[in-house]
Amino acid sequence: MKGNRRGALLGLPMTLWTAVFVGIVLLYLLALSFFTPTGEGYGVQPGFTLENYRRLLSPAYLQVLGKSLLLAFYTTLICLGLGYPFGYCMARAGRRWRGILMLLVIVPFWTNALVRIYGWKILLMGNGPVNDLLMALHLTDKPLKLLNTYGAVLLGMVYALIPFMILPVYSSVEKMDWSLVAAARDMGAGPMRAFVTVTLPLTAPGAMAGVVLTFVPAIGLFFISDLLGGATDMYVGNLVRDQMLKAKDLPFAAAVSVVLLILTLLILRLYRRFGGDSGDMTLF
């Protein structure tokens, strides 16, 4: 009992900080989404209107939302397709190699995210190295338009988020009990069958954590489409930013954020419902 009181006291700074800067801040966000903008600077008129949400239901905005979800979906799918085998091979490598590979995966992510995306921008430019190489190999006569395309945005997204798939898959494959696979093989299962019936279900929690960890941030990233996609395509992230900076319409931006928040919480809820443990999501 005494221990609990001391615990509560030690936890007080974190409890207060969380209550104010997460709890109250998100409640204000919710309230703000029902307010009306006054049109002067960032001014808002408190009240209760569903107008912001009604505007969000217009086809143009629904399309932005749909496109963002689709981009996040493709990003996650490619991350899974490349990251799962990567994490798997990494965990199956020799003991010495595992540490080295882990370091190799993490180090690029210690440089600023913007800089790495900017590196891709240089690579993909009309007169950049990739086009030079393609022309030197006579695969194309004139430079291809690689930058400011959907493909470039997708590449940037996958590049930025793939470690969040690799690491949980790696840890789930590494802690797997391989004698189970050996048992399946002894009972006559082929390597493919053993993989599908034993390895895959056992490593699914890692892959599922990876899916959540890539999909959720993918919905809100706006700087990648900004830098690699040109200003041609609008995603939810850009929408929130523009509503805030250009239109200065805080209530509408709040409504968009609330929809994103509810979507995220639903995904996290689903993840738990299907047996996901938030422990699998802590990478470090």
Binding site: G11, M14, L26, C89, N112, Y118, F222, L260, T264
Partner: protein, 267 residues
């Protein structure tokens, strides 16, 4: 069997090349002699951008200093809040613990843009004008979860009988904490803080929303990448990358030397 190994090694190698390609390009172009703002064609070797960096002609170094200052404040505060939080909440069985934990982890679970925008809106409402205060509040909010998680993991792995033994031998609660618990969780506290520091230094989205005029390094890089880039950005990032690489190499060397001793302790 052998063919499978070669296949997986090849796959890992190709993926790693893709992972490092943009980083390599950034470093390579930092030595470019070309000064044109519109084409990046590599025309020759030069250290001009490093020299420019020394005189900070583009304000990049001062942006880095701002970022380091911000990261130091935020991590210092988060270190205390997160560690105390883990010590208080991890063992205790109390009402509301689950709610506090879920809520405190939200900042790193939801898309950054939501927290960034929500904080900006609240600061506007409350009339908070000081950029550094706003930035520190925002960064502490997303740094605490990292430290909390790492320290908590360390605490759950700890044998509680060690603390009890110290108490049985006559140590007061404070003494037991400083001579038993703290040394055991210290590696967790350090690695959590390091992680939080890296996250703070790298944060773009949340700072973008919260800051009015203060320019952190990621904000500076963003604006210079959007409007004609100076390759000084590349030079600065190469220097930072080299610093990180050397730090990692050193820490690996040090921990390798320590390993045999640790093994003995475990036996």
């Amino acid at each position: 069997m052998r063919r499978k190994r070669v296949g997986s090694a090849l796959f890992l190698a190709v993926m790693l090349v893709m992972l490092y390609l943009p980083v390599a390009v950034v470093v390579l172009y930092s030595f470019n002699a070309n000064t044109s703002r519109f084409t990046f064609a590599f025309t020759g070797f030069s250290t001009q951008y490093y020299q420019g960096l020394l005189h900070d002609t583009k304000g990049l170094v001062s942006a880095l200093m701002t970022s380091l200052e911000l990261a130091a404040y935020s991590c210092g505060l988060s270190l205390v809040i997160g560690t105390l939080g883990a010590l208080g909440l991890a063992g205790a069985q109390m009402r509301g613990k689950g709610a506090v934990e879920t809520l405190s982890l939200l900042p790193v679970m939801i898309p950054e843009i939501i927290l960034g925008f929500a904080l900006m809106a609240v600061f506007t409402f409350a009339g908070v004008k000081n950029d550094m205060v706003k930035l520190v509040i925002a960064h502490v909010t997303f740094c605490v979860p990292y430290i909390y998680l790492v320290v908590k993991a360390r605490l759950t792995g700890m044998d509680p009988s060690l603390n009890e033994a110290a108490r049985d031998l006559g140590a007061g609660p404070v003494r037991a904490f400083f001579s038993v618990t703290l040394p055991l969780i210290l590696p967790g506290v350090l690695s959590g803080t390091l992680l939080a520091f890296a996250m703070s230094l790298d944060d773009f989205v949340i700072s973008f929303f919260v800051s009015d005029t203060t320019v952190t390094l990621p904000l500076k890089i963003y604006s210079s990448v959007k409007t004609g880039v100076s390759l000084q950005v590349n030079a600065l990032c190469s220097v930072m990358l080299a610093t990180v690489a050397i730090a990692v190499a050193l820490s690996k060397l040090l921990s390798r030397k320590k390993e045999p001793g640790e093994m003995k302790n475990e036996e």
